[in-house]
């Protein structure tokens, strides 16, 4: 277990180093994700203990955003002043993004499925 926890931390660490060394526009943890993914591709499988550690993180992912979310208190005044445009922009844009992404994905998956003739689930 500790070995795989170390491995996950090491992926992030190498990701942070690569980000700085190569001036990449992506954050270290995302590069770390790519590294771990590449490792799994090479190994062709997920070791059981790595799955235990990783899935523990992922099943509690929401909790990890709470401290950053509380940072809203730093900007309460500014957000209050601009409450209407900010609310409309956030809600409108988030819904538009979800709708556009899902519609394009659905349309293109259908086209691919038609080509591949065997439809995936649902």
């Amino acid at each position: 277990m500790i070995f795989y926890l170390t491995l996950i931390f090491a992926c992030q660490l190498v990701g942070e180093l690569l980000k700085v060394a190569l001036e990449l526009p992506v954050p270290g943890p995302v590069i770390g994700m790519v590294l771990l993914f590449a490792g799994l591709m090479v190994k062709r499988g997920i070791p059981e203990d790595l799955a235990k550690v990783g899935d523990t993180f992922l099943s509690n992912l929401s909790l990890l955003f709470v401290p950053a979310g509380v940072g809203v208190m730093l900007h309460i005044a500014l957000i209050g002043e601009q409450a209407l445009p900010i609310t409309l922009a956030l809600v409108g844009s988030t819904l538009a993004t979800i709708a556009v992404t899902a519609l394009v994905m659905r349309a293109m998956s259908r086209a691919e499925d038609a080509e591949a003739r065997n439809a995936s689930d649902e």
Binding site: C11, G32, I46, L64, P67, V72, L74, V104, M105
Partner: protein
Amino acid sequence: MNKDFSEIWVYLSASPLLALTLTLAAYQLGNWVYQKAGKNPLLNPVFIAVVALVATLLVTGTDYAAYFEGAQFVHFLLGPATVALALPLYRQIERVRKSALAISVSLLAGSLTATATAVGIAWAFGSSQEILISLAPKSVTAPVAMGIAEQLGGLPSLTAVLVILTGIIGAALGPLLLNVMGVKDMAARGLAIGTASHGIGTARAFQVSEVAGAFAGLAMGLNALVTAILLPLLWRWVF
């Protein structure tokens, strides 16, 4: 507050344990309310926890920096958790490979929509340039979004807040919108929520299905990459 109590509070506030315990307790409260309300997506656990904590800090006169001293231990785990997103992605590799083109095109469409509509709406309502820049990367995972905002001359700390709010809005309203639209495919649902509302959307998607979670995580990573590259270029071109 009476004198004894405030002395105890001052003592406890100096140790990270209080902020850490409060954070976990507030999240438990959020989860409890969410479960009690029949998993109503509008009662997002992160949203409830944040409201409870902000109220507590304001009432007790604790500032955010003092709170974060303790809460940073939870915050820190975001990094390794992001690395762990490689697992569900690997488990879905066949589906991802099969739909690579569909994923790329929908992601690009979603990414451009996210920035264009956020900036467009706020601009139409007369927001300042500073707010527009801070809003532009709002669908991207926080560390990348903050970097983009800083590069373009926005307020990184405001961006962080807007990113979190976007995540909560997407996690709360996204599933309802997708139900209304009749999108049942978990891959499309995950991809849409991950593109629009990054890690908070991804966390929410995982609660529903492993497939949706994997696609949301993939969308979050790709959207960070696409926006970090395209937004600075587009911004200079438009303004």
